[in-house]
Symmetry: C2
């Protein structure tokens, strides 16, 4: 397809596509003349991935580049490749390991983890933030969240592979792309739903008393 | 306490505290001389709130100001005040209502919601992002997440009020501050744990076969 068709199919402006081409985020099309090129389904997929990372994930271009670099050259180890790609996703944490709070909590609750991974660094920053705000979360509280979150994660992983097949037939790059998109795109769904449920519970509580002052009445 | 002691207690640099004072985010201390002022526990609490919003929540100063404005003058309706404060938290969504995808999904699953709220706008953006990436989430899938998330939210709300008392004794401002901090500080914990559990499941799967090519073996 021509660049104008690629723009229509992806919802990305031609100027933006040209920018991605110049920046090397999108591989060049196949030249059909001195001034024209043609693009394929691969370009469309790549463009959708970039837009997800930029618009939903809020990644700066340097981090988009880092994710794409892993997808373009993932190496043989899917676990390492996924870890590298996820490390380029926000939130960006400045602290260096060891991540004492996170590691202590994860060990206490017996959750397997890579102590130097970006996700553990993010947990450390989150726990440090709670502590700094005067609302520390102890290992037991982290454990409750971990159990609830594990229920979500297990279902998600099972649904990716409903019949015990699937991911292992894909090249590593596809796995990385799936995990990156599953992270960037689904996280906002989970957070938005939590806020919506909180609001519903909050409204329920405040509707329970005549004057909104008796939230316990419905219990 | 003096500004240097406030800095030590809060972990915020004196220069940053002075900046917040100039910007009106932090109310002035009580003057003890022409060049000195003294600060109290209220200043420390306010400073902690600002740091949580800036460092953990990633709010720009204009949005911090919006949250503080609600806390300083919440009005009589806690539900409205909480809604106003949460609307100042990221992710910031540009789209205007109606939020067709989100509303349709929430109605299909029977989850009470305010159709014009920021959280519904965020869900809409998230669902639109999934759709644009070629991975739409149908109402049934949203419903599964909503159920799992509701389990977390119900426990959280119950733990705030373990004996049926608590929040209703606090002024509206305290409720708003609690909800804001519970949102900003706990969301990163949930997301970090989801990434950690995914990594653990992923590693388990790839360790299941000798060559990492038989992820279904452990099932």
């Amino acid at each position: 397809m021509r660049i104008s068709e690629l723009a229509r199919a992806s919802g990305v402006a031609v100027a933006t596509i040209k920018y991605y081409l110049r920046e090397g985020l999108l591989p060049p099309g196949r030249s059909t003349s001195a001034t024209q090129a043609t693009y394929d389904e691969g370009h469309l997929q790549r463009l959708r991935l970039i837009r997800s990372l930029v618009e939903v994930g809020g990644l700066p271009l340097a981090k988009v580049r880092a994710v794409l670099a892993v997808i373009d050259d993932p190496g043989p180890d899917p676990y390492a490749a996924v870890g590298d790609a996820l490390a380029a996703l926000p939130p960006y944490v400045r602290d260096e390991p060891p991540y004492a709070r996170a590691t202590a909590a994860l060990e206490a609750i017996g959750l397997a983890h890579d102590p130097g991974s970006a996700a553990v660094a993010q947990l450390e920053a989150a726990l440090a933030g709670l502590e700094a705000a005067g609302r520390p979360l102890d290992a037991e509280a982290v454990g409750r969240y971990a159990e609830e979150v594990a229920a979500i994660a297990r279902r998600e992983v099972a649904s990716v592979e409903p019949d015990g097949s699937g991911v292992h037939d894909d090249p590593v790059a596809t796995v990385v792309q799936d995990v990156v998109l599953g992270t960037v795109l689904v996280e906002p769904v989970i957070l938005a739903l939590r806020r919506i449920v909180h609001a519903a519970l909050f409204r329920e509580r405040h509707a329970a008393g005549d004057d909104g002052q008796n939230p316990a009445a419905s219990r």
